[in-house]
Amino acid sequence: MGKFLFWTLVVAILIFLTIPAVVVIMSSVNPTETLAFPPKGFSLHWYARAFSYDDFRTSFYSGLIVTFFASTIASVIGVAAAYVTHRYAFRGRRLLEFLLAAPLIIPRFTTGFGFLLVGAGLGINNGYTIVIVTHVVLVLPFVTRSVYVSLVNVDRSLERSAANLGASPINVLLRITLPLLTPGIVGGWIIAAILSFTEFTASLYVTSYATQTLPVAMYTYVREYTDPTIAAISALLIITTTLGMFIVDRTLGLKRVLAIESH
């Protein structure tokens, strides 16, 4: 009885979490410009418009550039950050940990506005650099967390025996430790890539016309048009992300990548 009530509650909450996505997908195939529930038919018209609209195409490519560089750089630095904070004791370690994790709790608009000001001071607001730096800062905590969990689970005896057989510390790192960390790095990279691609608030501040990412273009569109083209793009993003999550879960384990499990 209690169990039944509990699961009813969980299902109700999951419906709350999922309903917006379902409504978006329904609207995206609705042929009319005004909303209708249930949809008045089936049409891919809004998808066609989404693909033919210039701003979405260019911002999609800009987004890919930003995402690729940001998540790759963040993955490299994430390994470094996880490694030094897990394996070394040094002065200022707590401060470094705090600063690298801080973008999780610093409001996004504070970060975005801050980098806008820095970019203005350096005169680099037109290029990709400032966008990529901002994204690296924002997604780094997620990568570090993922790598850190893998690092905790590394069997230290493997490293020790390699060292005993005469391998140099750098060789141990490259040949033993890093390969063992691969799932954590790959998982972190994927999470970082998705977060970077969909990041909006900070991007609104640091992107220019030439570097505007997809969510910024979508926001501009929502402000000017009321038709369901955004529903079509949103539906595509929702479906792609869900599939991505599914694949990460099957191959690497979502719980591990998100560091929900500590063992």
Binding site: V10, L96, F113, V118, T241
Partner: protein, 284 residues
């Protein structure tokens, strides 16, 4: 193993990122002490006037509203996320666990724009909820959800829930299952076990996560912007309004600084309390 060269090699990129974080914050704080020259992006000399501005009714009320909305969101988030997080950790069936984790976490990764747009479709006058209510004859005229605090909070709960679920699930996964089993063996009903064992053992996690979500919610921009429609304003909207639309960088900087202080400050305030709770749990 603890080779210094590796340390140097790794510490440098970390320091560069830390430096970038510090610089962005320093820029915000620097601008918040600058004099605003109307119509210009250049700033004047040192002044404290921007901080006095916060006392003006508009800013003060928006700051209060932001804190209130974030607090309510954090509380509703906790109530709705705990059962899901619990189910996620305690489920043994693999397919169910996968389904739970994907359904509850995916919204985090679709981004704020997609989710806000989705809620506009759900809450609008001719949106999903109103269509159903009208079709069922529950209401005769559309219920106003858009441009209300209620609508904004509903969407924000959804915005912050995935993160809350991750944090709570982490806390629950640390609870040793044997305690729950032992209590059940002693004849306690499942609800009693949950209430008397699981909840107290996860209390440090509950408090910490709620505060993190409070801070996280303050980050929201698109949700109050599009669902609040200018009627519900949060600090993020004012920063945008003052910064990008009125070129008042100094006031935008002060507001950004206030949000930063509120977010980091609330965590710092609660930290000793969480530590004490953790100690008590460890003793039990």
């Amino acid at each position: 193993m603890n080779d210094r060269r590796i340390w140097w090699f790794f510490i440098v990129p970390c320091m560069l990122v830390a430096l970038a974080v510090v610089m962005s914050l320093a820029a915000v704080f620097q601008y918040s002490f600058r004099e605003f020259i109307p119509g210009s992006l250049d700033t004047g000399g040192f002044t404290l006037e921007n901080f006095y501005n916060i006392g003006r009714p508009l800013y003060f009320l928006v700051i209060l509203d932001t804190l209130l909305i974030s607090l309510l969101t954090a509380i509703f988030c906790l109530l709705l996320s705990y059962p899901v997080a619990y189910a996620l950790v305690r489920t043994e069936a693999e397919w169910l666990r996968a389904l739970l984790v994907i359904l509850s976490i995916t919204p985090l990764f679709t981004g704020e724009i997609v989710r806000t747009y989705a809620w506009m479709l759900v809450l609008g006058s001719d949106g999903f909820v109103n269509s159903i209510l009208m079709a069922l004859g529950i209401v005769s005229a559309p219920v106003q959800f858009m441009y209300t605090k209620f609508g904004v909070i509903v969407a924000l709960v959804h915005f912050s829930m995935p993160v809350m679920i991750i944090l709570l699930a982490t806390a629950i996964s640390h609870v040793n299952r044997d305690y729950e089993k032992a209590a059940a063996n002693l004849g306690a009903a499942p609800l009693v076990v949950f209430w008397r064992v699981t909840v107290p053992l996860t209390m440090p996690g509950i408090v910490a996560s709620t505060v993190v979500i409070f801070a996280w919610t303050m980050s929201a921009f698109a949700t109050p912007q599009l669902i609040g429609g200018g009627k519900v304003l949060m600090i993020s909207n004012l920063v945008y309004l003052q910064g990008l639309s009125s070129f008042n960088f100094p006031v935008a900087a002060v507001l950004s600084a206030v949000a930063f202080i509120a977010a980091v400050g609330s965590l710092a305030l609660v930290q000793p309390f969480v530590t004490r709770l953790e100690r008590r749990v460890a003793q039990q």
